[in-house]
Point group: C2
Chain length 244, copies 2
């Protein structure tokens, strides 16, 4: 799990949820699974939960929102985490940490998450809703990266591309975990996926960008054949530069 | 424009469009701009176009579809182009070419594209529709890359991440062109954006991966200070390896 990974931020403590909200979510999912999403009305949900119709709309703007009850909070947590970043933080590592908040939300309740995943595959309206939520996460990450890359000529482009890559890597791992029925270590899968993005876009620690490397001024000599693949040369240079 | 770029595939010749379809699109957009999208009914559109209601549904499943009339054809062209790829083609370059088909579709009619962009910004339902279309392009590119990366352990992950990066880069350039009112060279902007993705994910020509580099076996020596930023070292190594 990502919680166990060093350097991963602690979850913001969640205030106890109002029982009525939980009751509505529970009732809605029971009906969605039993009768199907389209066949369930808001009246059915409030009747099973034993509350009034107005109570439903106090918590959820629409029937779609009861399917994804925690994304608003997760988006707020993500914004908070990114706002709390230091200028010395690697921006790509930071958006990867931010993406892990989404995984953590899903992993908190695997049964619910898997159930919802299956529901979302079946209902086109829910897939559309999910795409719009994913887009909001991507914009949140991109906005942070745009501010961090403000001094680069290609800053906004780079920000948008990296945000999309992080979201795609995260969702690849998340969906593979959901498809498996919530078995296995979702956090480790997400870490592995995000590593691919960091390899492509982050400066490597100790590879000449860090503080420690700037303290030493000795010379590195790399000798290689012209036919050596570029990745092998880079690895060689990196291990030389990073070994201080 | 991307058409002028060497190596970019030629557009599949478009058959002449039926005038009734064009008349419906024209009428719809005139009304969307004059009255607003939500305020325009399908009855208003068919009445202005001087055709029957059934004719509308012969061409467009819904009111949203008349706003994006050419995406289905573009998706089909994209699938075709990717299917026609050779195994020797660089897969990342190939999906970049495929993405350029979308740009070309927008650039064919700048006035219409800019008008639609402004409309889409204003109508949440159209933004959702657009997200679902973008998702279909991304899946088309990812499916191709998955087949090309089938022998890699991280093939599906890599495919999804690169597809997302290509789409994000393409859309970044496309939207900046649309925001500017369709001024300037959209093709050049898209090329520049896609180059960022290719730099991160494609093997570089002449950088030890190409045929020509394998013919020569001389030695390259790079001498650098430990404090030199990694990107500068890589650039130095690249220019040495690539200068044959």
């Amino acid at each position: 799990m990502s919680e166990a990974k060093s350097g991963t931020p602690e979850a913001v403590p969640t205030p106890p949820k109002p029982p009525m909200r939980e009751a509505l979510i529970g009732a809605a999912f029971r009906l969605f699974v039993e009768r199907g999403y389209e066949q369930t009305t808001i009246d059915d949900i409030v009747s099973l939960a034993g509350v009034g119709r107005r109570s439903f709309f106090r918590y959820f703007p629409s029937k779609e929102d009861v399917v994804f009850p925690d994304h608003e909070k997760c988006l707020a947590d993500m914004t908070e985490l990114l706002k709390a970043s230091a200028d010395s933080d690697d921006p790509v590592a930071r958006v990867c940490d931010a993406a892990r908040l989404v995984l953590r939300m899903y992993a908190e309740n695997p049964t619910f998450s898997v159930q919802r995943y299956r529901l979302t595959r079946q209902v086109p309206g829910l897939r559309a809703y999910e795409l719009s939520v994913v887009w909001r996460y991507e914009r949140t990450l991109a906005d942070y990266l745009r501010s961090r890359f403000a001094d680069r000529r290609d800053g906004t482009l780079r920000a948008d591309v990296i945000a999309a890559a992080v979201v795609a890597a995260h969702n690849h791992a998340l969906r593979s975990w959901l498809r498996s029925g919530g078995e296995g270590d979702a956090g480790a899968e997400v870490d592995r996926a995000l590593e691919l993005v960091q390899e492509a876009w982050s400066p490597r620690p100790g590879a000449g960008n860090g503080q420690s490397a700037q303290d030493t001024e000795d010379v590195v000599i790399v000798i290689t054949k012209r036919s050596t693949p570029m990745w092998r040369v880079v690895r060689e240079v990196e291990s030389s530069l990073g070994s201080n």
